[in-house]
């Protein structure tokens, strides 16, 4: 089972490190990362494996939202199925 983590906001140092260690603590394995910076605006998309997730997915989403507020970014975790449904036939 996989989920997509997106981090957006104003670019600053150490975002990837912070988010990936936060995810690792919860049993999430990062499979792929893609990032873009457009005029200071940072957008990172991670595809993560949540087979060994040690909390509920909706709980992880809430915790990441809180972490995002803490570091002044927007962090979302969404089951990959929503993107598959909307963008693949």
């Amino acid at each position: 089972m996989r989920a997509v983590v997106t981090v957006t906001g104003k670019d600053k140092k150490g975002i990837i490190a912070k988010v990936s260690s936060f995810l690792a603590e919860r049993g999430v394995n990062v499979e792929d990362i893609s990032q873009t910076i457009l005029q200071d605006y940072f957008a990172m998309i991670m595809l993560v494996d949540i087979a060994d997730l040690n909390v509920e997915l909706s709980e992880l989403a809430k915790e990441c939202d809180d972490l995002g507020r803490e570091i002044g970014m927007s962090i979302r975790v969404q089951h990959e199925a929503i993107f598959n449904a909307m963008h693949n036939i």
């Binding site: 957008a43 909706s58 969404q78 089951h79 199925a81 929503i82 993107f83 449904a85 909307m86």
Partner: protein, 451 residues
Amino acid sequence: MFNKFDVLETIDMIEREHLDIRTITMGISLLPCVRGSGEETAQAVYDTVCAKAKNIVRVAEQLSGEYGIPIVNKRVSVTPVSLICAAFPQAAPAVGRALDYAAHELGIDFLGGYSALVHKGMADYEEAFIRSIPELLATTERVCSSVNIGSSKSGINMDAVRLMGEVVKETAERTKEQDGLGCAKLVVFANAVEDNPFMAGAFHGVGESGTVINVGVSGPGVVKHALENIPDANLNDAAETIKRTAFKITRAGQLIAKEAAKRLNAEFGIVDLSLAPTPVMGDSVAHILEELGLECVGGHGTTAALAMLNDAVKKGGVMASSHVGGLSGAFIPVSEDIGMIEAAQKGLLHIDKLEAMTAVCSVGLDMIAIPGKTPATTISAIIADEAAIGMINNKTTAVRVIPVPGKDVGDSVEFGGLLGRAPIMPVNPTDSSRFILRGGRIPAPIHSNKN
């Protein structure tokens, strides 16, 4: 890996353009709840609804968290109560109150199905039931009521139309402290559908299975935004863009509907791919029509633009879901759409134009505040006109008007929340009573004879 633009597009749709799942509605059959007396039946209804829907709010919140898409409303629809209470119509209000208690217990905002189907004829027990609607709506908070008074197959039951004019008036009168709010929970249908997830007109049809999940998606803001990117495109391209957008929106609805059905132990029923506006800025169907090039909704061209929008939404949505149903199209509730409210306030949107619009989109004259002094027979005549459009065009039409007690043209009314606000709209002052008081039945149209 996903295309990053796709991922960011989905997120933009949700965060900036108000894409949401408008409602997860569980349809529950009450037929197994009929007992020997009204009291026992009411108790069985309460127990059944509470047991079957006990997890609906929790599951919706869970799904919303996992997929990162808001699920705005969690609702329940039930078998028309008039059928459950056929043997003891005097007990119908007790069953209605049991449903209201159940809605409170479950933590849901609306529960639909205090309904009767009288499109061809009205039995004594059904008439008694319909006469109980005003009091029920005045004494409960969350129960919604609907009555089907006509269909393409059976014609229009004008005795029921006449009665419903009186029922709408009385409902407004009994809830006059809240500006006739009871009428916002009362829909008069022609060609009512059995699997509609949207309130106030939802009920669980007798052709449905025991427990069903129907999902209503929304996203007027997403469609408007997509059109903003192609301001000079011709209407072929505009229709194509609407289709593609509707496809994506509906796929999200299909995913949530299937998953919700699985987790709630219910059958997946349908996805209703309606564009349902809210009074919030950026969530308006009227603004889509204006984006297509109208100065103001209500102007000439509005019906054509709406017809195109409604059709493109359906074409995009149908391929995205295994079962499309409900009302599916564009909704035009006046008080619930900021663009409609503004046009009505400026005097540029009238009830006659709205009636024309209902011939080409889903539903009908919806959430329109009219003068409190409007006679019951005029309301019946408004209902008859809408029913005629539905009957002849083989589509659902509905009337949900609020004759606001003590208010007249120039005043406005505030219902709050999703129900929004509306200026009082003038109705034609001439007398239609002789036509309405004739009673009887308008025969089914010739094209209903298809066998």
